[in-house]
């Protein structure tokens, strides 16, 4: 009976058509329009084009000369690297630790996953209070234990990067944690038991069994982390609006929003959006190539 379903293609087409139409209307058409918009001159959201730029690729030339765009790309690439190393790394360590315990593992899964369910804007406001210069939690704590005598401006040029990266990275550790825990659950216990009989130590089991068998899961995390870093917007925008301090904290996502919504330079914002997509595709393909998925 199952074979009959696949012989007749029309049920498949019927199932696929709605999603295809939805994606065409709400994703591919807007994306193509966005590419077209990047060559036009548009002075506000919803405004019609005032004609092609002169030359049409003007925004792409401007992008390479724009020092703030360079800052945005540099910061995004650093965020990407930190995301891959710290976010996925931390998630891996936590997942391995939780996998080792029998009592309370469900509790830790919930605790580590919890930041994901809080809106990024709410987290941004929360961290704003923690890092507040005058009366903020961190400054009060450091003052009370005698580590500082004067408040520290955690958003000034010498501190802002850590202040920006910490909550952004912390927020999604739980997301990768859950993916890796699921990957760990898929590894058969027979293999561990056999390794134990052969005298493999705890670290040895992780090195020679867990990590190789988690390879594909980690590859997925890697791709998600890379593309996710390019799209980060809400939390940095809440904590560091307008690229503060001194235009140092721009990310590709926040700079695109600023150009589009605040400066009403919709065509330049569109060009930045195209750049984000290109960066995402190129870097994730590169990562795919380097960390090829393996068949076991």
């Amino acid at each position: 009976m199952n074979a009959m379903i696949y012989k007749k293609k029309w049920p498949l087409i019927l199932f696929l058509t709605p999603t295809f139409l939805f994606l065409t209307v709400y994703l591919y058409y807007p994306f193509l329009m966005n590419v077209w918009n990047s060559f036009n001159r548009i002075g506000g959201m919803g405004e019609a084009s005032r004609g092609l730029n002169n030359p049409p690729y003007e925004n792409y030339v401007k992008m390479f000369k724009d020092p703030l765009m360079s800052t945005a790309i540099k910061n995004t690439l650093i965020l990407m690297a930190l995301t891959v190393v710290i976010q996925v790394g931390l998630a891996l360590i936590l997942a391995l630790l939780v996998d080792q315990i029998k009592f309370g593992s469900q509790f830790f899964r919930t605790v580590y996953f919890f930041p994901i369910v809080i809106s990024a804007t709410a987290l941004g406001l929360l961290f704003n209070l923690i890092f507040l210069y005058d009366g903020g939690m961190l400054n009060q704590l450091l003052t009370n234990i005698g580590l500082i005598t004067e408040n520290i401006d955690w958003k000034d040029p010498s501190h802002f990067f850590g202040t920006l990266m910490m909550p952004v990275i912390w927020q999604y550790v739980g997301f990768y944690f859950v993916i890796i825990v699921t990957g760990l659950n898929n590894i058969s216990t027979d293999i561990y038991e056999a390794a134990e009989i052969d005298g493999a130590s705890g670290l040895g089991r992780i090195r020679y069994i867990t990590l190789p068998l988690l390879h594909n899961t980690l590859c997925t995390c890697l791709i998600l982390a890379i593309t996710g870093a390019l799209k980060v917007f809400d939390l940095p925008w809440t904590m560091f609006p307008g690229g503060m301090p001194l235009d140092g904290s721009w990310l590709t996502g926040t700079y695109m929003y600023y150009q589009t919504m605040e400066m009403a330079d919709v065509d330049y914002g569109s060009a930045i959006a195209v750049m984000i997509v290109v960066l995402g595709v190129v870097i994730s393909q590169l990562a795919n190539y380097i960390f090829k998925e393996k068949d076991y």
């Binding site: 009976m1 199932f15 609006p241 503060m244 301090p245 919504m261």
Partner: protein, 446 residues
């Protein structure tokens, strides 16, 4: 059975995708029939800046409630706090065809785009159908749009910008609040004393709201009659005055007049220094009185209002300290979409008339300028800050509207964003002005 199930599910998916389209088309006749009935109560969408922590929020809500009870109409109030983001949102609403029926908005160049696109109705056109519309206002004081010099908006309360003073901090520093005679040099000497005593002289976020100091530092370079001039380039007379004004902000920054974190703090963070008795001065507008004094249903941000006052921003050169920034910069617009729907037209006109009666305007104005024929009246039971404000406005020797309202929005954002670079020395004031004037799309409203 499975075939039937597959087919049913697929059709259900398709139907759900197109459900939105069907819903939209079926609602149009319903709206039309409601409009044609005429007598049925109408629902109107209203956007104003009387949201958030605006001092007149409660007054506005009370006036809306009274209007709804009197007319049976319903008001969908989408008011918010006025800032650059709100202005951009209003502009986007017009561009996407989702403008409100009544809008309380700025009357300067910010409104040019929707006026040029015929999205709002002029008072002249409204008076052809409703001759009594805005008849309680002095026609000469109804603001004319810079786009075509026609009058569109009916103003409620005007505004003034002045310097709020923390008397507790000044007392601890052995100083008296500045007066009409205080000069700029004396003011800077006061700031130095305050700084040495360990306080922040001026509560201001140069990162977020440098607007007020921008106005007064430019006013300091000329007189009120010159203040309205927008430079064509950084090298003309107005451009030179702007450059000198911006350099004055830089001098204040270098002298440590602003909070340590002025380049990373929000306006709310720095204003809190006033409430916490950590800062001595802050410039803001008449709308900020509500923040200090509170309202019927909300306490003010400060413990004792009498520990604060408002006075003139000390002046220099040709500008007297008593020359202030004030005017009527906002008013009620009726949009074209509401005007062309008979039911919503009546409701919108009635709404604006209800919001601009002498009684309501006097409730809102609280001692600020109005366009009422009956003139400005003192608020009932004024608090000490309102009395100080009335004294300030009455004692003014000259006034000019905020020049930033005459500057194209894109150029203004560009210029304000570069103030942080000017004060830290990475950009020259002249270059920042020229860059702002040359900003792509900034030529739209010239």
């Amino acid at each position: 059975m499975k075939k039937f199930l597959s087919l049913t599910l697929a059709l259900a998916c398709c139907a759900s995708v197109f459900a939105g389209c069907g819903g939209a088309s079926s609602s149009a006749p319903a709206a039309s029939s409601a409009a044609s009935s005429g007598s049925a109560p109408a629902e109107i969408r209203v956007v104003t800046s009387y949201g958030g922590d605006d001092g007149n929020r409660v007054n506005f809500e009370n006036a809306v409630k009274a209007y709804e009870e009197a007319t049976g109409n319903t008001v969908v109030d989408e008011s918010a706090t006025s800032n650059e983001q709100w202005k951009a949102q209003v502009k986007a609403d017009f561009q996407t065809g989702s403008e409100p029926d009544v809008l309380f908005f700025f009357t300067g160049v910010d409104a040019n785009e929707f006026i040029k696109n015929n999205k709002v109705v002029s008072i002249e056109e409204i008076r052809k159908e409703y001759p009594e519309y805005a008849s309680n206002m002095k026609d000469g004081m109804l603001p004319a749009s810079p786009a075509d010099l026609k009058q569109y908006a009916v103003p409620v309360n005007g505004y003034w910008e002045g310097m709020f003073v923390n008397k507790t901090v000044l007392k601890d520093c052995g100083l008296e609040p500045p007066t009409a005679e205080t000069t700029w040099e004396e003011f800077m000497a006061m700031c130095k004393t305050i700084k040495e005593k360990g306080y922040t002289p001026i509560a201001c976020s140069l990162a977020e709201v440098p607007h007020y100091w921008f106005e007064f530092c430019i006013l300091n370079q000329g007189d009120p009659s010159q203040h309205v001039e927008v430079p064509a380039s950084a090298t003309d007379a107005a451009g030179q005055r702007w450059a000198a004004g911006l350099n004055q902000i830089k001098e204040m920054y270098e002298a440590g007049c602003f909070p340590t974190n002025t380049l990373t703090a929000t306006d709310a963070d720095t204003f809190q220094l006033m409430a916490d008795n950590k800062a001595a001065f802050a410039i803001d507008g008449s709308w900020k009185v509500g923040w200090f004094a509170g309202s019927d249903d909300a306490a003010g941000a400060v413990e004792n209002l009498d520990d604060y006052t408002v006075t003139y921003v000390p002046g220099m050169g040709e500008r007297k300290s008593t020359d202030i920034v004030a005017g009527l910069s906002m008013g009620y617009y009726i949009t074209r979409s509401a005007w062309e729907d008979p039911a919503r037209r009546d409701a919108a006109v009635a709404f604006v008339e209800a919001m601009t009666t002498d009684e309501v305007v006097n409730t809102f104005a609280g001692g600020t300028p109005t366009a009422l024929k009956s003139g400005m009246t003192k608020p009932e039971n004024p608090n000490s800050m309102q009395l100080a404000a009335i004294d300030m406005v009455n004692g003014a020797t000259g006034s000019a509207p905020a020049v930033q309202d005459s500057l194209n929005a894109t150029a203004r954002k560009q210029l304000f964003a570069s103030i942080k670079d000017i004060v830290t020395g990475s950009v020259k004031a002249e270059d920042a002005i020229q860059t702002a004037l040359d900003t792509p799309l900034a030529d739209e409203d010239k």
